[in-house]
């Protein structure tokens, strides 16, 4: 048992110090009827590193990895190239095997990273401040809705039609228990998002309007117009960014009037990982800081006058405020925040801009090629690296047949909206810097084959 340093001699010597005859005596408080007498029957016993690696490798081998085929999936999780130094740096034991920085004198590494991360996210989002991360985009989005309720003391959230349906589900689940009212309808297949519809739904009871930017169909909503309408009714605008690379080209939501900006940070530095762990991004105006969920790192000085960093404003948090806390969140996504921060440092503002241009160019190439296939139509007026194509038949079946041809062709709207048959022919297609001209051609040829 390679992870257990005690020897038999150590154990008996230690039992002598304790004054116990056996280790079992230390479990005396466990009722005898509940104590197990040996290893649980039917479970395997310990195994060598080589044997475990073989077992896990076989499981991994049963999956088709994104990098092994032409790949066009997005819908809230994006495949980008991650520079080798990112993974190297996050595997340094001083980062990987440290705890939440409760003892700041010996955690300045983590704390300075968090301060830099918060600064990067705030600038990316165009908000005054950002926190040290949440679990993922969907939970950050729910927390933003709850925060808006605390600030406005109102209980109705208007969700735009283009909000990721999993985010909608997460919000709806939580609202069932907190009693918030949720105003939401599934998207319509229009070339542009329904700005007028969102604005019409805002009233004097509305705490917030939640708008995804770009939206689930890849369209780009007019945040500024919605912000003006929301503010006129005393409601907050929450912008949701599931693909932060887009902000290399698009105006930051905070500059367009969003009061709270949340997002999924996975795109920058974090792999697909079948959906987790990901990275919740959370920024807002400074005046709302006391209502913000999650950890915050702040600058201060030490007893010798040197600059240093600490976790701060923890009177909002569960370990101090208990049932009166702004959230129950404790552990967040520290290591993913580090990965994001390293990748963002490698890119810088100029690099992110270049990366965004390349993503958009590849998406344009894909859209141009696919729209030349008879029976296929690109829905969007505007898009960043993801767009919706309308197929002549149910996209779920098309996606399955594409997979049989070794092409991961996109996300069908039927998978995301099983209750909206009118959307079933829609297919979300994403292209990033990892998408080659050959990939695009392979998708087009496979689609032509499936549809013929």
């Amino acid at each position: 048992m390679r992870y257990l340093p005690l020897t038999a001699a150590d154990r008996s010597e230690m039992l002598g110090v304790i004054g116990a005859a056996s280790v079992d005596e230390l479990f005396a408080d466990v009722p005898a009827s509940a104590r197990l007498s040996g290893p649980i029957a039917g479970l395997p016993l310990h195994a060598s590193e080589m044997a475990v690696e073989r077992h896990m490798g076989a499981l991994a081998g049963k999956n088709v990895s994104a990098g092994s085929v032409p790949f066009f999936l997005g819908a809230g999780a994006y495949r980008h190239h991650i520079p080798a130094s990112v993974d190297h740096l996050i595997q340094r034991g001083e980062f990987l095997t440290a705890y939440t920085p409760y003892q700041p004198e010996i955690a300045q590494g983590t704390l300075q990273v968090l301060f830099e991360f918060q600064s990067q996210v705030a600038r990316l989002f165009g908000t005054d401040i950002a926190n040290a991360s949440m679990y993922d985009g969907s939970t950050a989005c729910w927390e933003a809705v709850a925060m808006a309720g605390r600030i406005t003391k109102r209980g109705k959230a208007v969700l735009c039609r283009g909000l990721h349906p999993h985010y909608v589900s997460t919000i709806t689940t939580m609202a069932k228990f907190t009693g918030d009212m949720i105003d939401y309808r599934a998207p319509k297949l229009d070339a542009a998002p329904d700005t007028a519809g969102v604005i019409a739904a805002i009233d004097a009871e509305t705490s917030c309007v939640v708008v995804q930017y770009p939206d689930i169909l890849g369209r780009i909503p007019d945040l500024a117009a919605i912000a003006t309408a929301a503010h006129a009714h005393g409601a907050l605008l929450i912008a949701v960014v599931t693909e932060p690379v887009a902000l290399g080209l698009l105006e930051a939501p905070g500059h367009l009037g969003a009061d709270i900006v949340v997002g999924e940070g996975q795109s920058i530095g974090v792999g697909l990982n079948f959906g987790g762990p990901y990275l919740g991004l959370f920024g807002c105006a400074e005046k709302f800081v006391r209502q913000m969920p999650g950890r915050l790192c702040g600058q201060t000085v030490d007893a010798a006058g040197k600059r240093g960093f600490v976790l701060t404003l923890s009177t909002r948090e569960q370990h101090i405020r208990r049932e009166k806390a702004t959230s129950n969140i404790c552990t967040n996504s520290g290591l993913c925040a580090l990965a994001f921060s390293v990748h963002m440092t490698l890119l810088g503002g100029d690099g992110l801009h270049q990366l965004a241009r390349l993503n958009h160019a590849r998406a344009r190439s894909a859209a141009d090629r696919l729209s030349r296939i008879p029976g296929i139509r690109v829905l969007n007026d505007a898009y960043f690296n993801e767009f919706t194509v309308m197929l002549p038949s149910d996209a779920r079946e098309v996606v399955r047949q594409l997979a049989d041809r070794q092409v991961l062709g996109g996300v069908s709207l039927g998978r995301l909206y099983p209750d909206a048959p009118g959307l079933a022919n829609g297919l979300l297609v994403t292209a990033t810097e990892t998408t080659t001209a050959e990939d695009i051609e392979a998708l087009a040829v496979a689609l032509e084959g499936v549809l013929s």
Partner: protein, 521 residues
């Protein structure tokens, strides 16, 4: 009494301490200072070579284009590697030495876990790929789920919660959904005073009123007082077992019986499951729901504050309400993911979705790798050694520190002390900061709240006896200094990258992001 550090090794410090004059760089040999990226990097620097786009396609973005360039500094790869490597050296970590944070379970993180999690078949698969292309991922989730169910003796497991507190919420929402489905919604959740802060915060988030349960003088839940409070308004009791005083709740079975008789559910905070894994199945104690922190019991790394993972094992009464997505085996043996598309048929009473996608897959692969490495026999040994190490610390220090529950018998995986008996003006914080100078990470301090100046020490099973003896030697040395009123201890740490930091200033005038360029502008 055992001799501290019987192995005898001690770093030689030399006879004279040299303070010397300031260096021109501000660094001192391997003690390296590091500016912020905003002070290092500039516009026009980039550590990634990005291909030029084939054509200029921007018209498709029209009016949404960013007006000003993004004011984010960039660094080349060598500068980036150096920046983060220098920062990393200002961190303490388990890889450097014992990290005895009580309740946090800082155990060794096996590197095989890291290697496996990075296999492209796990790391490079999208959550919305067709199921036929992710059979291995679903099987991985199912194998881990099978282990968690077997180790806890429960009926099902919700795999999606993203951390312990998210798991608590999942458990309480299952309970609330079950009660509401039975037409008996209730308003109150009972929580012991010694509970983690997440427990009352979660109960409040789930819409419940929180009331405290008193403890006995022996540090356990007061069964009689609990029974007296139970009634038709109590939805659930949240109990941590072993509890945050490091003690097993010996009456848990009776507590469960009483709560069930009153129509309520028992939620168990499984943060301390590492103390009993393979020795006791919580399901045999009558609990209805328990989250398992994979980053504690099953060795996934804490990463400086996450990511965690908090699957929730459930009793048969709660399984139907578990959140989506949900993995189960079909009649023909295939492992199928139940999402909204098929939930109406296969999992109709689910309370819904708690997060996008399937949960923390990257943590599942690490945890399953760890579980398979230890096997059923090794996991029981994990609990035994964790408890043995904690009791060794308890009995090696209880003559110099007050152990409030030391007389009630052995502890489980963590040893609890108070600051009683230190010199006037000396408290737990001074012991903690003194430990930093001794080269250790401090224990959990001032938690649980039920003990004055609590020091909660959790060594875990991955510390060697020699490592424990060095730690014990340092603790005894610090006890002597604190009892003698050694004033230098009041200003510790002296040897860390930073002295004590001004937390009041940080909270009074919050500086939460870099503003340097704006101040100059």
């Amino acid at each position: 009494m055992n001799a501290p550090n019987p192995s005898g090794w001690k770093p030689a410090m030399g006879s004279a301490v040299f303070h010397g004059s300031p260096t021109a760089s501000g660094d001192r040999a391997l003690m390296l200072e590091e500016p912020l990226i905003f002070e290092l990097g500039g516009r026009g620097k980039c550590g990634v070579d990005i291909e030029a786009p084939e054509h200029d396609p921007l018209p498709a973005l029209g009016k949404f284009l960013r007006r000003d360039p993004l004011a984010l500094p960039g660094l080349t790869e060598p500068e980036t590697v150096r920046h983060y490597t220098r920062l990393s050296r200002q961190n303490y970590a388990i890889d450097l030495g014992p990290f005895p944070l009580g309740s946090c379970t800082m155990k060794h993180n096996p590197r095989l876990n890291e290697k496996v999690a990075r296999l492209p078949g796990f790391a490079d698969i999208h959550p919305l790929q067709p199921q036929s292309t992710v059979r291995g991922a679903l099987e991985t989730i199912n194998q881990l789920a099978g282990w968690l169910i077997a180790l806890t003796g429960m009926d099902g497991v919700a795999m999606t919660p993203k951390a312990g507190a998210h798991g608590e919420l999942c458990g309480l929402l299952c309970i609330r959904a079950a009660l509401e489905a039975g037409g008996d919604p209730r308003e109150v959740v009972l929580v012991p005073e010694s509970a983690h802060g997440t427990n009352p915060a979660t109960a409040a988030f789930a819409g419940y009123r929180v009331e405290n349960i008193p403890a006995t003088a022996a540090g356990r839940v007061d069964l009689a007082a609990l029974q007296a409070r139970l009634g038709p308004d109590v939805a659930a009791v949240m109990i941590t077992n072993p509890n945050t005083c490091g003690l097993f709740e010996a009456d848990l079975k009776a507590i469960s019986g009483a709560v069930h008789a009153a129509g309520g559910f028992v939620y168990c905070d499984g943060a301390n499951f590492n103390a009993i894994v393979g020795k006791v199945r919580p399901g045999d104690l009558g609990i209805d729901a328990m989250h398992i922190n994979l980053h504690k019991t099953f060795s996934t790394p804490h990463g400086g504050g996450g990511p965690g993972s908090g699957p929730v094992v459930l009793s048969a009464a709660l399984v139907p309400f578990a959140p989506l997505p949900f993995v189960s085996r079909t009649a023909d043996g295939q492992i199928e993911l139940i999402e909204e598309e098929t939930a109406g048929r296969d999992h109709p009473r689910s309370f819904g979705r708690m997060a996008a996608f399937h949960g923390q897959m990257g943590m599942f692969t690490r945890a399953l790798t760890y579980i398979l490495s230890h096997g059923a026999d090794g996991l029981a040994r994990v609990a035994e050694d964790a408890v043995l190490n904690a009791n060794y610390i308890l009995r090696s220090l209880d003559d110099v520190f007050d152990a409030p529950f030391g007389s009630s018998g052995p502890c489980m995986h963590e040893a609890l002390f108070s600051d009683d008996g230190l010199a006037e003006g000396f408290s737990t914080i001074d012991i903690a900061k003194g430990l930093i100078d001794e080269g250790f990470h401090p224990m959990t301090i001032y938690f649980p709240l039920v003990v004055h100046g609590a020091m909660l020490i959790e060594p875990t099973e991955t510390e060697s006896k020699a490592g424990l003896d060095r730690f014990i030697g340092s603790m005894r040395h610090l006890a002597a200094r604190a009892k003698a009123g050694d004033n230098e201890l009041k200003s510790a740490p002296h040897f860390a990258p930073r002295r004590r930091l001004d937390e009041t200033l940080a909270a009074r005038k919050p500086v939460l992001s870099w503003q340097g360029d704006r101040e100059q502008a």
